[in-house]
Symmetry: C2
Subunit: 341 residues, 2 copies
DNA sequence: CTGAAAGCGCTTACAG
DNA sequence: CTGAAAGCGCTTACAG
């Protein structure tokens, strides 16, 4: 049997209540008894049972993290470890633990979230993504359970605290950059229209083109659903257009790197024949040839802020929902150049 | 206030004990009352409080995962998400949750582990790494707390259930492969001697050389500590040897890709001038030029097995420690070729 | 087949 | 400054 507050009390000759109070470092306990009790704890190797504590104080000191479903290989990309590092930092500072969903499908995740919430496993939740149609977010909202999200909520954003890049703005910037290099036929490859950030980025792209009075070509948007038939095939199809794109904004660095690889196979030079930019600034982007021009969205900071505000929200009664914008910046390397023809 | 077992009992006109029993689907409760109680639950939107349950049954249905410290960028590489996918699968099947350490230093992690264990937050633990000198593992052993580890424990291996590749064998194989291509001066770059898998791989390399009666050159082992002064510098230093290596076994694909990049900068052709192999088979390895020859250590499966046996160990009283070996295989691509000179 | 009682290991008004 | 008592929401012998 584990040693309990009772055992400690017996050894220290005080009541369990007193032991509990020195545990909480209650100010009204005399230093003398505190010392006495602490010695007894030490001697017995006492450690509080957090479950029991949680049950009465109605708080677990742990935050739940909802990941996109692990069946999709979304996890292959380094977003997750990086965002987790950020969340960990803040959680640790406040002595919070981290509980993870493991679901492989949205339904499974939903079940787990209900369990976390109703089963009182966590005090608050961080949603690591924002989709257009998310009944998990709806549920949390309905239950008025504390949560923050990474990404802009598609609906009810005004009632939710979330952390996001300014995806519209940054994509407008990167498009302006390509425009500045003389490109006018710019494709967007790997669009997942369920994700709100894709919607925003696409809008940023369009805004940029509009402002430059360059027409936007719908055929130049390649959706991730199409990619499932083979990215290489879709890519070469894209290039067979009578007026093919001369620049590509890829959904992320992985897509960008894959495209660069296919370009080589197809004897198309990057960046001379086609310029390519990615998103996320994964480490490897620096080492491939040509090195990858990309947008650093500061994933770590996204995690830090999401955790920071969740913790704040948990503490303050009058917390008002807010939007936190994490700056993104263009990392210019060698995968883009001036349009040659 | 949340709805409790008492509320349900009141509505269904039964005692709380009975409600608890239908929750556990106790066989001796009549179908009639089961139905009645379930209706009441439904009506009230009842969900069991898992904390309360855990307190009495002394089991949390959650497993703790101890990561290498998040301060090191170890997490940048996709090992973590991938192993987590594997663990998740098994955890989910058995309705176990996942609790994560967040520590940035070994000491912090140790504190968290003690909390997890003593605070009764988890039923068992998976250690995601094995180091030569690990007081966390010692602690778990001393406490006789259930755990499995990914990687070979440096000591007490016979008392511990662990999942590992046969690192000696697979590295012997990959070295044999390089030997077969005519290479005799083979370097090992990025050795972290704290990690047991490095020790094993180095041994595999030596075994292969020994067997081929090729002498092993200590200077050809480049430690990660040296790498901190700049991998590029260490690499060019290595190549300035009067008899430089013609092949490199890199600690992982990241190191391999970085080396390939530096080789290009230094006007050294890969694989013509130097052959390079990595470990892990990260997705991107397929897309870089030259595509990367590597060892697929089957990270996902490592996670699956670690979770599977932890769960088994939690269930069975007479579980005996065992070693599970996950097969690794060489993925031959284009970063190695026959020695030219 | 079901209920009353005790208990899991804590915390926290209440009283002194 | 400290203790006795009640209670957090469950489970589980024990008894009938």
């Amino acid at each position: 049997m584990a040693v309990t507050i009772k055992d400690v009390g017996k050894v220290a000759n005080v009541s369990p209540s007193t032991v509990s109070r020195v545990l909480a470092n209650h100010p009204k306990i005399s230093e003398a008894t505190k010392r006495k009790v602490r010695e007894a704890m030490e001697k017995l190797g006492y450690h509080p049972n957090l479950q029991a504590r949680s049950l009465v104080v109605k708080s677990t000191n742990t935050i739940g993290i909802v990941m996109p479903n692990s069946a999709e290989l979304a996890l292959e990309n380094p977003f997750f470890p990086e965002v987790l590092r950020g969340i960990s930092l803040k959680a640790r500072e406040s002595h919070y633990g981290i509980y993870l969903t493991t679901g492989a499908s949205t339904d499974e995740i939903y079940q787990e979230v209900v369990q976390m919430v109703q089963g009182k496993r966590v005090d608050g939740i961080i949603l690591l993504y924002s989709k257009t149609n998310d009944y998990i977010m709806d549920y949390l909202l309905k239950e008025q359970f504390p949560f923050t999200v990474i990404g802009r909520p598609f609906i009810n954003a005004e009632r939710i605290t979330y952390v996001d890049n300014d995806n519209i703005y940054i994509t407008k910037q990167i498009t302006d950059y390509l425009l500045g290099l003389g490109h006018t036929r710019i494709a967007f490859v790997g669009a997942n229209m369920e994700m709100v950030y894709t919607i925003d980025r696409l809008q940023g792209l369009q805004q940029s083109l509009e402002q430059a009075e360059v027409s936007f070509d719908e055929r130049f948007v390649v959706y991730d659903t199409q990619l499932k038939n083979g990215m290489k095939e879709q890519f070469s199809k894209l290039l067979q257009d009578p007026h093919p794109p001369t620049a590509i904004v890829a959904a992320d660095d992985f897509v960008a790197i894959e495209l660069i690889s296919y370009a080589e196979d197809l004897k198309i030079a990057v960046p001379e024949d086609i310029s390519i930019v990615g998103f996320n600034n994964i480490i490897i982007g620096k080492y491939i040839k040509p090195s990858l021009t990309t947008v650093d969205i500061n994933i770590y900071q996204l995690g830090v802020e999401a955790a920071k505000y969740l913790l704040q929200l948990l503490k303050e009664d009058d917390f008002v929902p807010r939007r936190i914008t994490v700056p993104a910046k263009i990392v210019e390397r060698k995968s883009c150049c001036r349009k040659t023809m």
